[in-house]
Symmetry: C2
DNA sequence: CGCCGCGTTGAAGCGTCTCAAAATCCGTGG
DNA sequence: CCACGGATTTTGAGACGCTTCAACGCGGCG
């Protein structure tokens, strides 16, 4: 994995922002947005590049604009566990904390909208709309983390893979095809190793279970990355979740 | 486990509250506290009693005042995973959500300070101090959940047990003995089965690893529940964590 | 062309689970 | 005070699922 240079991206108007209505700024009024524009700047990273290392000084917080990033923890002996998958509109960093608690890595090409930390923290105090939205997003993250705890602690390898595919498929569908098509196709944004880091498995087990799901007709593969799900119901049956789980809100 | 009747506890002044400075109300001024007193009421539960079932209607949020509660998720076939351990000052429920997302159970006798949900949500809008503190607490919870994801996904059974004991010991020390005594003793608030639900293990594996830690002199047991840790350093060596992990903030 | 990153597949080992039985603890009633 | 019964915990033996170690296949790129 070669090291790429970090690239600064040209300024952009918040009005045109693709994550305007979902990110931490979602509830801001025009004047508040203008204030945010004062302290924001964009950064781009290439696939594979590290955004920040755990323990490093972090003088910004940010929103993912496009692309996918991951949060991972690493033990002394090299065991790794992914603890977050950051999608467009997701928030990176913690107000009030000056160092990074996790490794942040770009798994695809990535653009982030960064805010200098100090001014952002001051704005949080004076702008309830930001703090409100951040609370809501953090509560959602906490729910997601707890669902992942169930997966890590109690699901079988096959159920783990099926759950991950279901999550990616559902998210992909919400962007590409608002209607619930019976059959869906998407590109896996993660390597087998990244999948294994997320699921608490080895990459060999991931590969074997992918093959098993293919053999059983739950998924089909074009190349290594493009996944087609003929029946979302059949996939859901493999996740171990309640049939109605996640739909009632 | 017999079903006990829920008991209402007599009113109490916020000024005397043992969690006054750590709970969701920690930053409130006197007038804000007075407002909270209007919508608060206490509830007590006996050890083993269920506070609320996942999916049930939940028209309050609450703080744990004394005792310990757990959040657990259950799969259709009965597999269970604990996703939260609620200690005094911890918050229960989610503003804006009218049903419970998890089973909440009292593992010891428990007293909660409950707020009617609707008035509490209104207060959150008008009282930044509450929302600020809740955000801070939620971010802490998220960090804890992510640390638990590493444990569930990557640690061995022995490391899991050692980690749990270390967490309980450290918390207990922060209450009972502010100084870092070399040797510490505490009562386990969890049964073997509850420990297994937290750690993603079977209760038999928990029991075996407890015996192994005892055999190796990492812990000593008086009865089944009272644990003594002769050397906190020796215990920390068994957790798999960095030697300096968790201390730098 | 040959290298390298990524993915697949195989075989053996090991850690945890499952099933089973015995030991211990604790509240209750005699 | 002791006996009893049920809940909890411990311990054992075998099974099983995932990991480990290893070899091989595939595709892109210098």
């Amino acid at each position: 994995m070669s090291v790429h240079r970090e690239i600064r991206t040209q300024m952009q108007d918040c009005g045109d922002c693709p994550i305007r209505h979902r990110a931490v700024c979602a509830r801001c009024e025009a004047d508040e947005l203008a204030q945010l524009e004062q302290i924001k700047y964009y950064r781009s990273y290439q696939a594979g590049q590290t955004v920040i290392w755990s323990g490093d000084k972090m003088d910004f917080v940010a929103s993912v604009v496009t692309g996918i990033a991951t949060l991972t923890q690493t033990m002394e002996d090299g065991r790794r566990q992914m603890v977050g998958l950051l999608l467009p509109s997701d928030f990176v960093g913690r107000p009030g904390r000056s160092y990074a608690a996790y490794d942040v890595t770009a798994t695809t090409d990535l653009v982030m909208c960064c805010f200098r930390r100090k001014p952002f923290e001051e704005m949080m105090g004076s702008t309830p709309h930001i703090a409100q939205r951040l609370l809501e997003m953090t509560l959602d993250e906490l729910d997601a983390a707890r669902e992942w705890m169930l997966l890590l602690g109690r699901k079988t390898a096959r159920e783990k893979i099926a759950s991950l595919l279901a999550i990616i498929a559902r998210r992909d569908a919400s962007l590409k095809q608002p209607r619930t098509a019976a059959t869906m196709t998407f590109d896996l944004p993660l390597t087998r190793e990244e999948m294994s880091d997320y699921l608490g498995l080895t990459l060999e087990t991931v590969s074997r279970q992918m093959s098993a799901l293919k053999r059983d007709g739950i998924i089909t593969l074009d190349g290594k990355r493009q996944v087609t799900i003929p029946s979302m119901d059949a996939l859901m049956d493999e996740t171990g979740d309640d049939s109605d789980g996640g739909y009632l809100v």
